[in-house]
């Protein structure tokens, strides 16, 4: 019964979405306020209905109602509760439902929190949101119904893919989707502005917090996926330039560019046309990711390739929304008045450089991902574009970006002084130089360029602190005065510093672990000792164990360093009951120097109780994810600042009193 109610709510949500997409839009055209105001209750009602449908499906999962085909295919009664819940989005149908749930959540948030939006703009934004919801709800109802019943109902489910039964992966999709779908708000704002033919700085101020929120979620979502890959896959890798990874990385790159160009638009009324285009492109890349992954076009052997109808449907959505938005953009582009002139050396100029490089990087990832498909379609030739290509092209594009990064925030708007900025950055340069020398001294092996790479990360970290120091006039003014300025600074300022610092941390982690990873592959018999990166590991043997829904073989390694016991590692190999698949759980010991990482391999036939073993030491690898987390927190600081400002209506105030710290 609950399942049927869920299904009904979903169809009802589709109807409401139709209303939401049509009436407010019509109202904005006809200047009818009553019609425009329909958007708000419609968006809230849609959230309630989609949430009802989602909860109904979740309920079926929690109580293991195997009369629902989706639950039968993807769940099992022996699964822990957490994975019964995450199983809801661990499959195509359920993940689409999560997608529209997040879409409805964002739509309702605009309806409820966007109290100071102009009526017509809000109506159009909600209408565009509604139209996207119509497309995806139709897609679910017609091709991917999660509420399909089975008769007779099976007694037991097939189970969730074991590699999804992991805490990081359980929460990876919701964050990722919040990122993708969050960009739909920027898209809706862009289309609404184009419909009205008016884009101004206020528009950018409304768009920024939504873009920032989406970007934060996407950052965290990608980082979680990468973290999972690191500890689950068993060879210490954390990024593979896989097409599916690229599909999430492209919107992130475009979204990062959008975040920066929107700043220029908000503060200086410049880069309007570009910002609007970028808002459209960012969401288009999110949609394209959906198409690439779900249509099976990436490969014949790929996720959800089962049903080509779905691929064609998503392609249709893609064509309508991207094509429609771009056509609208082309038609209205000329009407967008460009304002805010600036010199090449200025804050605006530096943000243009940021956008140039991020966009090029995004285009490179896009072409690299699609090139083999295109070439095969056109000529029949099969080529591979793999990690070596992306490392060779992406790296050099990030290099100038990272070198230039600390300069940006130190340049003034309109016309900046590069020499003065460079002067202020001497300390950062000195710290980076010290880091280079130190790395050369400590790590005598490894690529000769690696210390410079680490120095680059240190440069970005130190540069962001220098910028903070110069903002609060540390060293120039008295300490209490600097402290007062620090406290008076808007949160967005701290957010920028923090996010940039996170970028630097990430660079250090990436370079250190790529250049200085040590690895040992060997057979160890019980009692054998092996050394790596100053640690000595003694293999104590392996024993079988029983988990809630798997059996595992657990190896035990005692770890010593300098004759003292440090820890013990317990890597394991699991065999899940349903479906019968194996996973590996690496044994990881984290220290400030880096991770000691042990993987248990196959039992050796000849040796007495011997196992193939892989040992790694990954220096500073955690900086990658800590850096991503710091970036997320920077975004969080910034977005809370925005919300405060957005929340207070300022229509009547022409000029605010200057903030003392600025």
């Amino acid at each position: 019964m609950i399942v049927e109610i869920g299904h009904f709510a979903l169809v009802l949500a589709l109807t409401v979405a139709l209303i939401q997409s049509a009436l407010p839009f019509w109202g904005a055209r006809a200047r009818d306020e009553r019609l425009m105001d329909v958007g708000q209750p419609a968006a809230v009602a849609q959230l309630a209905l989609v949430a009802g449908a989602f909860l109904a499906l979740a309920h079926a999962y929690v109580v293991s109602d195997f009369s629902v085909e989706n639950v039968y295919l993807n769940s099992h009664s022996a699964k822990p509760l957490l994975y019964r819940i995450s199983g809801v989005w661990g499959n195509h149908e359920g993940s689409m439902l999560l997608w529209v749930l997040i879409l409805a959540l964002f739509g309702a948030a605009v309806a409820v929190f966007g109290t100071n939006l102009p009526r017509a703009l809000k109506a159009n934004v909600l209408a565009v949101q509604g139209a996207i919801a119509v497309a995806f709800l139709l897609f679910i109802v017609l091709t991917s119904n999660p509420f399909q019943r089975l008769a007779p109902a099976p007694a037991e489910g097939l189970g969730l893919n074991p590699i999804l039964q992991d805490p990081a992966l359980a929460f990876h999709p919701p964050f990722l989707y919040a990122g993708y779908v969050g960009f739909s708000i920027a898209f809706a704002f862009a289309v609404a502005a184009l419909i009205e033919g008016r884009v101004d700085a206020a528009w950018a101020r409304w768009v920024r917090p939504w873009t920032l929120a989406a970007w934060m979620m996407l950052t965290l979502g990608i980082a979680m996926g990468s973290w999972w890959a690191y500890y689950e896959l068993g060879w210490g890798g954390w990024w593979f330039w896989d097409p599916v990874e690229n599909a999430s990385f492209m919107p992130w790159l475009a979204g990062t560019a959008l975040l920066h160009s929107a700043v220029v638009m908000e503060k200086r009324d410049a880069l309007k046309v570009w910002t609007v285009l970028l808002a459209i492109l960012t969401f288009s890349l999110s949609l394209m990711g959906a198409f690439l992954v779900r249509s099976g076009v990436l490969s014949s052997v790929h996720a959800f390739a089962v049903d080509p109808a779905r691929g064609v449907f998503i392609l249709g959505i893609l064509v309508v929304f991207i094509g429609g938005a771009l056509a609208l953009f082309a038609a209205r582009m000329g009407e967008l008045r460009q304002g805010g002139l600036f010199a090449p050396i200025s804050r605006e100029g530096s943000l243009v450089v940021n956008n140039l490089l991020l966009t090029t990087a995004c285009a490179t990832v896009l072409v690299g991902t699609l090139y083999p498909l295109g070439l095969e379609a056109l000529t029949g030739d099969k080529i591979s574009v793999g990690p070596p290509y992306f490392n060779m092209t992406f790296g050099p594009l990030m290099l100038p970006l990272l070198v230039a990064l600390p300069f940006g925030p130190l340049l003034a708007w309109k016309r900046g002084d590069l020499a003065a900025a460079a002067q202020r950055l001497w300390l950062a340069a000195a710290v980076a130089l010290v880091a280079t020398v130190a790395v050369y001294a400590i790590a005598y092996r490894g690529p000769w360029l690696a210390p410079l790479g680490i120095a680059l990360g240190v440069w970005v970290m130190a540069g962001s602190l220098v910028e903070l120091a110069s903002r609060i006039k540390l060293g120039q003014a008295s300490l209490p005065d600097a402290w007062r300025r620090l406290k008076g600074m808007p949160r967005a300022g701290h957010g920028t510093t923090m996010a940039h610092f996170g970028v630097g941390m990430m660079v250090v982690g990436i370079v250190a672990t790529s250049a200085y990873q040590s690895e040992r592959i060997l057979v160890m018999n019980p009692g054998d000792r092996a050394g790596i990166a100053g640690f000595t590991l003694t293999f104590k043997g392996a024993a079988p164990q029983r988990g809630p829904n798997y059996r595992e073989e657990v190896g035990l390694f005692e770890v010593e360093r300098g004759g003292r016991a440090v820890t013990s590692l317990v890597p394991s190999k699991r065999l899940y009951d349903a479906p019968r698949q194996t996973t590996t759980e690496a044994g990881i010991h984290a220290s400030w120097r880096g991770d000691l990482y042990a993987v248990l391999g196959d039992e050796q036939v000849n040796a007495a109780g011997g196992y193939a073993v892989r040992l790694y030491f990954n220096p500073l690898v955690r900086m990658i994810w800590i850096g991503a987390l710091v970036m997320f927190l920077g975004g969080l600081l910034s977005v809370t600042d925005r919300r405060l400002r957005i929340g207070a209506p300022r229509r009547t105030r022409v000029r605010p009193s200057p903030v003392p710290a600025e």
Binding site: S95, A201, A202, V244, V385
Partner: protein, 175 residues
């Protein structure tokens, strides 16, 4: 050669948009490792650039598929026999086609692929520079520009010496 041994098969059931790689483990087995560390390092570097042709975007260094193991053993044989890295790659390309190379060679078919970063960056830079130049050359709308300049000066006076303009000015454009 079964697909089940590489991560592609596992993905069939896996969520979209995720970092999808299965839990295969120990691609390079201990018995494959060459005793000469220099040769072994070359082998590892080479195998990271060669695709496991039955897998989904996975190098033979990472893959657990039997074919990948065969290729790893084969390339080590060639290296021990004294082949150069290039010779080993040529040998494999003759057998499996360019598909086996994760770094596609620069040729007529891939010219666009390799030049994409340069073309996009160059093209965009030219656009930006032209736009900046045009903005300067544009005959200005005198009254509007004057007001803007005045506003700008006013904001500069209001903001303190680091030149940060206060952002709330645009609020006046609200309807």
């Amino acid at each position: 050669m079964t697909l089940h041994s590489c991560r592609a098969a596992v993905r069939l059931l896996v969520l979209p948009f995720m970092l999808l790689v299965s839990a295969t483990v120990l691609a390079v087995q201990p018995d494959e490792v060459l005793s000469d560390p220099v040769l072994e390092a070359r082998a590892r570097e080479l195998s990271a650039e060669l695709r496991c042709v039955v897998c989904q975007n996975q190098s033979i260094d990472d893959s657990n598929a039997p074919l990948a193991r065969d290729l790893r053993l084969l390339l080590r044989e060639r290296l021990v026999a004294g082949d150069s890295d290039e010779a080993v790659k040529r040998f494999l390309v003759e057998r499996y086609g360019t598909f086996v190379l994760l770094k596609p060679p620069f040729d007529g078919r891939t010219v666009l692929l390799w030049l994409t970063p340069l073309l996009v960056l160059g093209g965009a830079a030219v656009l930006v520079i032209r736009q900046l130049g045009r903005a300067r050359a544009l005959p200005r709308d005198a009254s509007r520009e004057l007001t803007r300049d005045e506003e700008e000066r006013l904001r500069r006076l209001l903001a303190q010496d680091d030149g940060q303009p206060s952002p709330a000015r645009e609020s006046s454009t609200d309807p």
